[in-house]
């Protein structure tokens, strides 16, 4: 059995604007930590920033970037990185993560996690960007596996292999989004067994869980909407992941059609139960 510390058993929720004040005001909460999207807190004078800082005095907060564009050939935007660094420092973030994706080219921000062909050139490029981010932040970050909707010409590396080598080169770790891995396996045939074989046990630093839905356009693809409860197949894959990589801080995300806070708490409790079965 893999050794795990107290923090490895943490379960929490993605904290979004509709629940921010309620969570802040709650006397007790049934989660160990929360995670916020970094870019929602890039205005340090906005009211929500003060609420987050007050909340961070009482609860560990993880910062999850969605717009740094680690996959950009153009490199990382310095202003973006500075704002991220300021937030991470202000709230003493317990974890910092971003995505294996890009969202900016030629100065335009597309606000989506766009796919990358996985090959040696891209590994060089992403490694440079991760190095730069880590140097500015003064800490290691975690990089999340994306949800795949299409295979791209120019891909020569398996995702697990790519991520493992990224970790070896930069010292970063992997945020395993279990829902994304399930979606990629379903949509583009990502081999989960190979992914598990490719990734060293100690490379995983955190898990994400979220809901998905079928493409409303009828393509038959699964879409990472974060708009539903975690699917049973994803819970099963989470249980396999915990056995394979050990318990790690786990966040349940819900970003569209956001339900009451208690529903999110219940999902986090379920995550804790899954961990407890594998690691009593």
């Amino acid at each position: 059995m893999i050794k795990c510390g107290t923090r490895d058993r943490w379960t929490g929720i993605g904290l979004r604007a509709p629940h921010l004040q309620q969570f802040h005001d709650a006397a007790t909460v049934p989660v160990d930590f929360v995670e916020v999207h970094a870019e929602n807190y890039f205005e340090p004078h906005a009211p929500r920033y003060a609420v987050l800082c007050a909340l961070a005095d009482r609860h560990p907060v993880s910062v999850h970037g969605v717009g740094l564009s680690l996959g950009s050939a153009d490199g990382i935007d310095a202003d973006h990185l500075d704002r991220l660094a300021a937030l991470v420092e202000d709230i003493a973030a317990c974890l910092v993560s971003e995505h294996l994706a890009w969202c900016r080219t030629d100065g335009v921000h597309y606000n989506d996690l766009l796919p990358l062909p996985l090959n040696e050139e891209v590994l060089d490029s992403v490694s440079r960007n991760v190095d730069r981010a880590q140097a500015r932040l003064g800490r290691t970050i975690m990089v999340e596996n994306p949800s795949g909707y299409m295979t791209l010409d120019g891909t020569t590396l398996r995702e697990g292999d790519f991520l493992a080598r990224l970790c070896a080169r930069t010292g970063c770790r992997i945020l395993l989004d279990v829902n994304n891995l399930h979606i990629s396996a379903t949509n583009i045939g990502t081999d989960i067994a190979a992914w598990f074989d490719d990734v060293p046990v100690d490379a995983i630093g955190q898990y994400h869980l979220a809901g998905h839905e079928p493409d409303a356009a009828g393509s038959g693809l699964l879409v990472d909407t974060h708009g539903a409860a975690v699917a049973d197949t994803v819970w099963d894959l989470f249980a396999r992941s915990v056995v394979q990589f050990g318990p790690k801080p786990t966040i349940v995300e819900w970003d569209s059609a956001i339900p009451p806070l208690e529903t999110l708490f219940e999902e986090a409790r379920r995550a804790r139960r899954v961990v407890s079965v594998a690691y009593p």
Binding site: P47, L68, H80, T105, N111, D112, Y149, M150, G154
Partner: protein, 258 residues
């Protein structure tokens, strides 16, 4: 072999508007393109709810979509995205007949902008009173970062307020839609509220001069020219109570006293 930079430029080609690029036939690509357009349009809709209510859902969706395609964000965070939308609305042909709409959108954006600005100290009127004679007249008041002065010919504050009521139709029916020059002050009021008021005659000219960086003497002169009954002391009390004025440095005022 295509470089990463070439791939990204190529991939981005049809994300904002449907096109005939290399990926046009891919269902997966359409999911990404839809995510891009919907998330950016939603960011605009979140900033301009009353503008959206006034033109209706489908018209606003088309207008926001056109804006997103023409002016995609240049920053990886969206809190500042929408500043250019009011000007876009003013030049958007389908809503040209709604002459008040761009100013209503400017008011909505001002409300957002002041809430994101630093909520620093306000002018201490008592400190201003310690400055004497010519030094006082040469003093420059300035607006706090979280205060904005806007001008319009339409009752857009009343329009915005009507849309906060349960019975919007009745509130709209009570609005005097006559066109006249109006000066609006929008100020952040703490952590939760924004004060948006139309300024009285005299106050409007005074505040307009302050916003342009004029001295107290010029602002006073403009105010008197605008309203023959203008009273500087009452006006300063009224306007400083809104929290619009930035603090003046004690050191600077002390130097002037000396």
């Amino acid at each position: 072999m295509t470089t990463l930079a070439e791939f990204q430029r190529n991939y981005a080609q049809d994300l904002l508007e449907p096109g005939l690029g290399n990926y046009a036939g891919s269902a997966g690509y359409r999911i990404h393109a839809r995510n891009v357009c919907i998330s950016l349009s939603q960011a605009i809709a979140d900033c301009f709810p009353v503008t959206a209510a006034l033109v209706g859902e489908s018209c606003f969706a088309a207008m926001a979509g056109a804006f997103v395609a023409a002016y995609p964000p240049r920053q990886g965070w969206l809190s500042g995205y929408g500043a250019a939308f009011p000007d876009f609305v003013s030049a958007y042909p389908p809503v040209r007949e709604l002459a008040y709409l761009p100013d209503l959108a400017r008011l909505e954006w001002a409300r957002i902008a002041v809430m994101a600005a630093i909520d620093g100290p306000c002018l201490d009127l008592g400190l201003l009173a310690t400055i004497e004679g010519d030094a006082l007249l040469e003093t420059h008041l300035s607006l706090r970062s979280c205060a904005m002065v806007l001008t319009t010919r339409f009752p857009v504050i009343a329009l915005w307020e009507a849309h906060q009521q349960a019975d919007i139709s009745s509130a709209l029916a009570r609005i005097d839609f006559s066109e006249q020059d109006r000066t609006m002050l929008v100020v952040r009021a703490g952590q939760k509220h924004v004060l948006a008021v139309e300024l009285a005659p005299g106050d409007d000219a005074f505040m307009g001069a302050v916003a342009c960086g004029e001295t107290l003497a010029v602002a006073w002169e403009n105010a008197v020219r605008s309203s023959s009954t203008y009273d500087l002391a009452q006006s300063l009390t009224r306007l400083s109570a809104t929290g619009a004025f930035d603090e003046i440095e004690r050191k600077a005022s002390a130097e002037r006293v000396c």
